[in-house]
Symmetry: C2
Subunit: 763 residues, 2 copies
């Protein structure tokens, strides 16, 4: 049974009723972010029950000393972690001297959380009786501003219901925080200055080793009827924290509010010596606006995002809620304004995975950002990898590769590899292919070729060099083989000739050769510069041609399918449907050796290749491979159902496509993988978007032309989405009765719908 406590609603995520068992899960689901910072939905007031505290600042990381049983040559020295940042949301509360703590209250009623995705705010309310028998009503509203992205705001309202009471608010900021996943109990932060000024407080800290400087700040005031109290009654300054006290006697049934603004000024954006100045400046701005106007701005900013990226689904509220939750989270995580940031797999919702950048960005997230933002955002994501090319070359050198071969990292913050499991770090090298594929995908979609001569060609050369050195000639097979790899399906390690990896390697070589030719003809100056810089020789490109032409691709004549890897047919091929449900997910129940020798597939592997290179195969071939592999797929990676949804839709299996869609879109809401407490699966959310746009909408770019072959699940009345295609804004609406495609902006465009050409003009 999956989790099902989240209420269905087209625009909001809603929880009703207080259940201690759900606290950590809801802290993930109701997380907030504005692209540059984010936080789990921890309570403002203290809570003594189990909770997972987390505030995060984009791009601020710590190279945690790595933890590994047995060191292997080539392992990186550290594991980069997006670290828990000083807490600015805290507001301790006491009622007639008794601390407010939901874990000790009784008679908790009307507990409700709402994450309003349309407007970008989160509210929690409840009625509860404190241990000293005061019944109170609380309404706490919070948001992270998009318009002032260094700041968030909280309105914390309390009404004593059964008696007059003295309410004390103690808003504070606290740098005494740790990561749950710290490997060696290292201190991540060093706090250098704590000070206050009237109702503002500041903590200046820097991260150890990486020396990011951050000023955490807050400002608070109390509102009671017409009274506005801006001067705190007292100040509490501790070694790593600072807070105020605002005390107020309240009449029964009357409401008192604390307004708090807080956030971070970071030296990525300001002079490290002037962070407090920057903090004061943003506090000046937002406090002169006030909570309500800031919230108005928030609603407008989110309206603008939804205007372009919303997908509407009529007739299926769970599906509607799912897709909006996904789009909302993607926009909370990465807004595309800063090419130094990227899309962490858990966004700002948890600590797991560390680092910020995986191949997820290129393989899953790029299409979403290409289509729902302008092309500059996608280009920034590509540039991010170009900026890391030197580090990728160093990564490859650490593994013994030479002459500028580049291996992009599995996990990184600054381009250096920072993950160490040999079977992943050293062997899950298909990631290199996704980096090249993203370049292809970007130019295909945007028709902006400029990235290739300026930057991409160097990236491609580094990647091609890696593949050529990574294969070896097998005399036995008379082919180039690739030994010892882990494919996208991480339930197989150190396999030989993973079809997907071999195929994408071959493609990378061919694509690079093609781009070399094209740049030579069209951009001779860039060509000359790149050749000089990379010292590329004809011997090398000659080898690339040879390797690409003679790459071994495992194939079973018996089954008429490419084999996921050598030896796949030796497995005990029992389908997933026959597994004992109690043993699922297998990664929580089976030992690793048992998983490895089983045929079970964590996520699309061969089928990932069929997704990327769809045009290389017939629909019959796709069907054969889908029917062969999907029955062994356990979809225990969040990245799995979306690719299968797209392919099922292509094969016209709409019922199956719909099931996959629900699984990908509600993965976290319904906690399919039983781990939502640890945070959300952000990058796979882009896959949900693909499920609709590429899956149901059948959107493709073929021969430079935009194509659709729309389908619709029978559970839906209609759905619609918008895309930005080469500066044209198209709206696609698919109903059971047919499809309407309109263009709101841009020049006339010929597209194909179900293979038929259609000319779109501005409406």
């Amino acid at each position: 049974m999956n989790q099902d406590y989240i209420q269905s609603h087209p625009w909001s995520i809603i929880e009703e009723g207080f259940d201690k068992e759900r606290i950590k899960s809801s802290e993930s689901l109701f997380s907030m972010g504005n692209g540059v910072m984010g936080q789990r939905a921890n309570f403002e007031e203290s809570y003594s029950g189990p909770t997972f505290q987390g505030s995060y600042i984009g791009g601020v990381y710590y190279p945690d000393k790595t933890r590994v049983g047995w060191w292997k040559n080539g392992y990186p020295e550290y594991f980069a972690k997006v670290i828990n940042a000083p807490n600015w949301i805290g507001i301790d509360v006491s009622i007639d001297g008794e601390p407010l703590d939901l874990a000790t209250c009784t008679n908790i009623k009307n507990f409700k959380r709402e994450l309003n995705m349309k407007e970008g705010w989160y509210r929690r309310n409840f009625v509860a009786t404190t241990p000293n028998n005061v019944e109170i009503e609380v309404v706490a509203t919070r948001f992270l501003s998009l318009s002032h992205d260094e700041v968030g705001a909280i309105q914390f309202e309390i009404t004593p219901m059964n008696t007059d009471a003295e309410i004390v608010f103690k808003p504070y900021i606290d740098a005494g925080i740790t990561n749950e996943d710290s490997n060696w109990d290292d201190k991540f932060w060093n706090t250098t200055n704590i000070e206050s000024n009237k109702n503002r407080a500041f903590i200046e800290s820097h991260t150890m080793k990486t020396h990011f400087n951050v000023c955490t700040f807050m400002q608070a005031h109390l509102v009671y009827g017409d009274t506005i109290k801006e001067t705190p009654d007292s100040l509490n300054k501790e070694e790593l924290a600072i807070g105020f006290e605002f005390s107020q006697k309240i009449k029964k049934g009357e409401k008192v509010s604390l307004i708090k603004y807080g956030g971070y000024a970071v030296d990525r954006n300001h002079d490290a010596n002037k962070l407090m100045e920057a903090a004061n400046s943003v506090l000046d701005e937002v406090s002169s606006l006030g909570f309500d106007k800031l919230l108005e701005e928030q609603k407008k900013a989110w309206a603008a995002i939804w205007e372009m990226s919303d997908i509407t689904i009529k007739g299926d509220v769970k599906a509607q809620q799912g897709i909006r939750f996904n789009i909302f989270q993607l926009n909370q995580t990465y807004t595309g304004t800063d090419s130094r940031l990227n899309i962490g797999p858990k966004g700002f919702t948890g600590e797991k995975y560390g680092g910020s950048t995986y191949w997820d960005t290129e393989a899953y997230c790029l299409p979403f950002y290409m289509a729902t933002k302008n092309q500059e955002v996608a280009r920034k994501l590509l540039k991010y990898r170009y900026n890391h090319l030197d580090k990728a070359i160093e990564n490859a050198e650490k593994l013994g590769f030479t002459k500028g071969a580049a291996l992009y990292p599995m996990v990184t913050m600054n381009g250096e590899e920072c993950h160490n499991e040999w079977e992943i770090t050293f062997e899950e090298i298909h990631r290199n292919g996704a980096i090249a594929y993203a370049i292809y995908n970007y130019t295909r979609y945007t028709q902006d070729y400029s990235y290739v001569p300026e930057m991409g060609l160097e990236v491609l050369i580094g990647i091609a060099r890696f593949w050529q050195q990574r294969v070896n000639w097998s005399t036995h097979r008379n082919k180039y083989v690739m030994l010892g790899v882990t494919g996208p399906n991480e339930y197989e390690n150190n396999v030989h000739n993973n079809w997907y990896t071999n195929y994408i390697a071959k493609w990378c070589l061919e694509y690079t050769l093609e781009q070399l030719n094209y740049v030579q003809q069209e951009y001779p100056n860039d060509y000359k510069r790149v050749l000089e810089k990379t010292q590329l020789s004809n011997d090398e490109t000659g080898l690339w041609i040879k390797v690409a032409a003679h790459m071994y691709l495992p194939y079973s004549e018996e089954h008429g399918v490419y084999l996921q890897q050598d030896g796949f047919l030796d497995k005990d091929l029992v389908r997933v449907a026959k597994l004992n449900k109690k043993e699922r997910p297998i990664n929580q129940h089976w030992s690793w050796d048992r998983i490895l020798r089983s045929p079970y597939i964590k996520q699309a592997d061969t089928l990932q290749g069929f997704y990327f290179f769809e045009d290389h195969f017939t629909e019959q071939e796709l069907e054969k491979h889908f029917d062969f592999y999907e029955p062994f797929t356990v979809h225990e990676s969040s990245l799995s159902p979306c690719v299968h949804a797209i392919q099922a839709a292509k094969l016209g299996r709409m019922e199956q496509a719909y099931t996959f869609y629900l699984r990908t879109s509600r993965l976290d809401l319904d906690d399919y993988n039983k781990e939502v407490e640890e945070g959300l699966h952000i990058t796979s959310m882009a896959g949900t978007w693909m499920s609709i746009v590429e899956g149901f909408g059948g959107m493709r770019v073929r021969d430079g032309k935009l194509c659709f072959s729309p389908k619709i699940p029978e559970q839906w009345d209609r759905y619609s989405f918008k895309i930005n295609f080469r500066d044209r804004i198209l709206k696609v609406t698919v109903a059971q009765s047919g499809t309407i495609i309109t263009m709101n902006e841009g020049e006339s465009l010929e597209i194909l719908v179900n293979g038929e050409p259609i000319i779109l003009d501005q409406q």
Copy 2:
């Protein structure tokens, strides 16, 4: 270039000259042990240069919290470590108030270490000038008593050479020690009592978690001419250490000595509440004997060991020194008196590897102990595994096996697995085969079948059950296959159908079925008891028959050899000889993925099978496999050269066999693997013994008969060894001119020499 500072000598290990760079290496090479405790050759006096301090007590371990990057289901919770025990050898010295420290002395002359293997003592002498310009001569002699195995003795002599001087000896015991390899800086010891009585001192400690109770003790007195000072001048008691001061004014050219006895009383042998009583009792015994008589006993005890286990080699002093060093270390590590102890791969010489018991014991050490001790010692080693059967069944259960399947641990102290690398812990399962093979080997050699019905049959059933569950039917191959294993060659991980593993699994099933039949016929009561206990059914044994009959064994028609594993021929088959010497050993220079996809073999794998199951293959087959695999073998496991020496000798390739012999026998003395600082490779030393006895001597047991086919390297004049075969003591002497085999004890025996029957009678 290998290390070559150890002087050649037939009976002693000698280092001459002081070199700070060699300290750690010599601390390993001059280690001492008496089967129940041991220590590295650390200086008695303090030394401020780099050193690796180590004292160890057999069977006293700590379950260190494990360190692993990414947890896998089935991993053990802890990693058992033979822990650094309180130091009892310490004697700080000061000369006219200046502490003696070789790192600060000048003009160090005549520095010499000698480990006298014949008599079992270690001596260090030097002349040096202290910072306050006193030239002193020091002679420090130390041994760990075999006759009183809880105690060691030190005689520390100093002579001031250029002036009168006041010498202060500060003998102490110190429980403030740590392990270099502690994972989490945990405290391993808790000290509960420190006290002294005249010139005796005691520290009572227990290990955290495992609660081993140990009393570390010492007694000291000073000797100067006729003066014997038994009462210390003062006492220093610290939180975790206690020591005395003996001060004496010495005339130039006269000698003063400190005699110190020290050691451990352990609750494995005494009531935990009476450890100090036990310590006093052993101190009474040894102090009444005195240093000289205790040393006389030591010489006698070692003479008795050498009487049976010595191997003499005439004409090659390096070879002679090598084999004696190996035999000496084996006897220092395990004497066979206690079935609760086993043979750790580093003995008492270092921390690395942890645990005490590996498959090394069964695969490499058993033959040595069978032939040089009485058969009870070997039987104790087998019993040790029987005692751990329940834990082996638990180990298998943790990995999802059922119905009493047993998986013996890769590393253990008490039967529980305590190693966690998935590719080893979960996959290097061939170790189970070695446990079964040892039973076969023991009964074959001793003709003592009683172990099988009493204990061994249950072990075999557990192992057979494991193999049957571990394979799966491959429809594709129409055979049983074994996926995801690591063979003895740990430079391949997670391979399919490792020939050695599949072969020994098949053999285990057949052997178990055979023993079941035999026990049924010959020991019907035992049979009934075991069947009831194990609930073995005909269905199960039916499956065993099927699996054994249809086990897949990878074979190359092209090369006419069994393949180490599926896909071996896909590798880039460049021979070791062509590797850049600067990149050797590859495990110190190559990243793990590069090692894995290379063809290089760490230690005998396919050839290990040809060693165990020699009689199943023709000599032509052996030759073919040797010629195929040896050129890819880097011998980076200490367990590799011995097996190759035996096979090269069998093939008549004496020059190669001799090279392997030197490599195995002088692995540590010459530091082939550049890691001797970490400790010695104890278990492989039994392989050196096998190289001579089974390799050059050609000793086998075939069809119940002892056989020899003696050969001799041309570098040697002659060699001889003794073996205990079924209570007969045979001496085998092989000269260039021929072989003489005599029997010193026991009944008449027919043996085969070069295939010819010979009757031996007592001389």
